[in-house]
Amino acid sequence: MQGGLKLKVIELCDFVAGPYCGKLLADFGADVIKIEKPGRGDDARHIGPFRDDQPNPEASGTFLYLNTGKRSVTLDIETEDGRAVLRELLRDADVLIEDRMPGELAGLGLGYEDLQALNPGLIVTSITPFGQVGPYRDYKARHLNLYHASGQGYLLPMWAINLDVPPCQGPGYLGLYDGGMAGATATLAALFWRDNGGSGQHIDVSIQHAMMALERSQLRRYVDDGVSPNRTGKGRLLESLVECKDGEFAVVILSSQQQWEGLWRAMGRPEWGIKPPFDTQKGRSDNYAELRKRLNDWSRTVTQNELFHRIQTEGSAAAPILTAEGVFKSEQFRSRNHFVTIDHPVAGPLEYVDQPTRLPNADLPAKRPAPLLGQHTAEVLGGLPGYDRDRLQRLARNGVI
């Protein structure tokens, strides 16, 4: 056994937020046992992306990415027999991650109080759209809704030309990842305390709250001046999107005189850049539209790559807007081993984005693929006291596992 996290985690979660929390522990070696509905499994198995767009619940890209290193057990916890198995699994577990609607598990006799009596050291981490308390706790929300409910969506797309451009959600399932990240962080804090003389406890994560906390720098502007910031701009000179000769986009930074000077040198020291009104932050800010036009006149004469390296060589910040292909081909990401190839029995070997947190002083096990549906049911349940082969076969016949 290698030196990964010595933790037994039960994950009773679907889709993105809860599974990301579980992944953050599994990728560091924790034994994460994923409980899936018999037959259908995790919802993420059904959304893709799929190779050649051919649906296959064993090979959804979203599922594969979010469930690396876990074991899968199919179990129907709507049945009493299923709940008995789950209780047995939780008896010596360190963590339960769950994403059922508030009160749902308590209704099944699996609420925090029930589980605390079973295993006082257990940490139960609940990750839901609006948390366990408050008037919206039973409200349903998907990624789109949470992006908007958190205040983040109202501010996008940033630099909208006017308020007729509707507010917009963020990319992918970013907001759901925020919920998973908050859950994993709090879970580790609770584990640290438990093993430092404390006990188990219940953690309540609201994805809305987690996303709101991330937007605090913008939201506080309402506290400053009583006006809600909106998506038409932050009211000051910060940056500009520019289009390059090759049709690609890049961003240049305009936040200080120092940044400007490096950019100006990279542009070949044009005369207009040291004359009024473009010679000061204020002048450039007051003439932002014309400034952007002049920046684009220059950027269209260089490639994205040329622009990036020229400005950076002059000591100022700039960046290429990368597509997925751009990320996969980037020399910087490559040189830092941002990707890891994982072989999966159905999807085959694929390059995955690896954990960005690398621990040089930990001896972590090699990355393992996401599980097939129920792949580890016999292995995991067979190890439980009282669950011999006959009993497991009976449960399987009754559709419990």
Binding site: A149, P166, F192, W193, H209, D224, G315, L322, L350, V353
Partner: protein
């Protein structure tokens, strides 16, 4: 009340946003966070405002937002004695965080190789835009650079419009939040093995790992996904709709037949909704433009709160696109305790957002306001390091404690 990270000390060389954002959250979990800063070169977040430098280093509300719960001591790291003093402080710490440009800590003699000599099981986090190794390691990066290189800018916004670099929640805040996770996992490993860690974190990699599912399309099909606004590849209706008030929008995401039927009931079962093409998910998606128009006609004379209540009552995922003003006054946000008032000697009493996780036995909370520059010098130099008044006075005169 107990604190999860009681007894953990963090020395914080962070500045601007990502670094301070991380240590603020460690403070909320109960760590003692000591910010090391100097008026010789103040944290940009204290000094910069709008289009210039601000004279008052204690009046920036964004500094307040990212430094709640910390202590501050003033040490001028450009002096030999200042660096020695910082090292003495690190020797008493569990975690060190910095987010200077890669190479700066080495130049100061405060890189991991030096600091681990005074604290063998030290956990050190270095945050930078592109990471501390690789061909771009010397390059400068701010939030829009993280989101651009991290692949999220390309995926943000409307299909027919340009990519979008997002607000600073996009890169800075997420990089800082991922660093809290990194610190916690390193602490867990230290608890398990007794060993510290050096963590070299790239904000671009962090943000890219949070769209790892989108990256799978390239891994599988050599295809780069595109931005698609509020739409979804399979669900409809899945959009925002204008409501009655000024710039009010309701977001609706219908993902099942049951939710569709709930929406029809919430709308009062209008005739158009009974059209056979809307009976299946596929049909609704195919005719989504017409469907969007009909829903927008319904929402146009309702407040977005009313639209939310009507739809949620029928089990339909629907929320307003909340503005800052809504969130600071919303009954749910307030009932959860997500907003709290905190006093500040210069900014006064003001509302802010609390830590997002509620831990039943070790509550994460805002323990104190944001520190004034050097406001905790006595505690740090006298109590923690046992220095005498004479030595402190000498170092103040020499602008080492400055």
């Amino acid at each position: 009340m107990q604190d999860a990270l009681k007894g953990i000390r963090v020395v914080d060389f962070g500045h601007v946003l990502a670094g301070p954002y991380c240590t603020m959250q460690l403070a909320s979990l109960g760590a003692e966070v000591i910010k090391v800063e100097t008026r010789a070169r103040p944290d940009e977040q204290r000094a910069h405002r709008g289009d210039g430098t601000h004279a008052n280093l204690e009046a920036n509300s964004n500094f307040f937002e990212c430094n709640l719960g910390k202590l501050s001591c003033s040490i001028n790291l450009t002096t030999d004695e200042g660096r020695a003093l910082a090292k003495r402080l690190v020797a008493t710490a569990d975690i060190v965080l910095e987010n200077m440009r890669p190479g700066v800590m080495t130049k100061l003699g405060l890189d991991y190789d030096e600091l681990v000599k005074v604290k063998p099981d030290l956990i050190m986090l270095s945050l930078s835009g592109f990471g501390g190794t690789g061909p771009w390691r010397r390059y400068a990066a701010y939030n829009p650079c993280f989101t651009s290189v991290g692949g999220v800018s390309h995926l943000t916004g409307y299909t027919e419009k340009k990519p979008n670099t997002m607000t600073n929640s996009g890169g800075d805040a997420r990089a800082g939040t991922a660093a809290v996770f990194a610190a916690m996992i390193a602490l867990r490993f230290r608890q398990q093995t007794g060993r510290g860690q050096y963590i070299d974190s790239s904000s671009c990699e962090v943000i890219n790992s949070m769209i790892g599912d989108q990256m799978m399309d390239y891994a599988m099909n050599r295809r780069s996904p595109r931005r698609h606004g509020n739409s979804d590849a399979a669900m409809a209706p899945h959009n925002v709709y204008r409501c009655a008030g000024a710039d009010e929008w309701i977001s609706i995401a219908v993902g099942s037949d049951a939710e569709w039927q709930g929406l029809v009931r919430a709308l009062g079962s209008p005739d158009w909704a009974l059209a056979p093409e809307y009976a299946t998910a596929e049909g609704r998606w195919t005719h989504r433009d017409r469907l969007d128009q009909s829903i927008a006609a319904w929402s146009a004379d309702k407040s977005y709160y009313d639209a939310m209540r009507l739809l949620q009552a029928e089990g339909v995922p629907a929320t307003p696109s909340f503005k800052a003003e809504d969130l600071f006054n919303d009954p749910h946000v307030l009932a959860r305790g997500a907003v709290q008032e905190v006093d500040h000697p210069v900014l006064g009493r003001r509302k802010t957002i609390t830590p997002p996780y509620r831990l039943s036995r070790t509550p994460a909370r805002i323990r104190r306001t944001a520190p004034q520059l050097g406001g905790d010098n006595d505690h740090v130099f006298k109590t923690l390091l046992g220095m005498g008044d004479a030595e402190i006075a000498r170092l103040e005169d020499a602008k080492v404690i400055y």
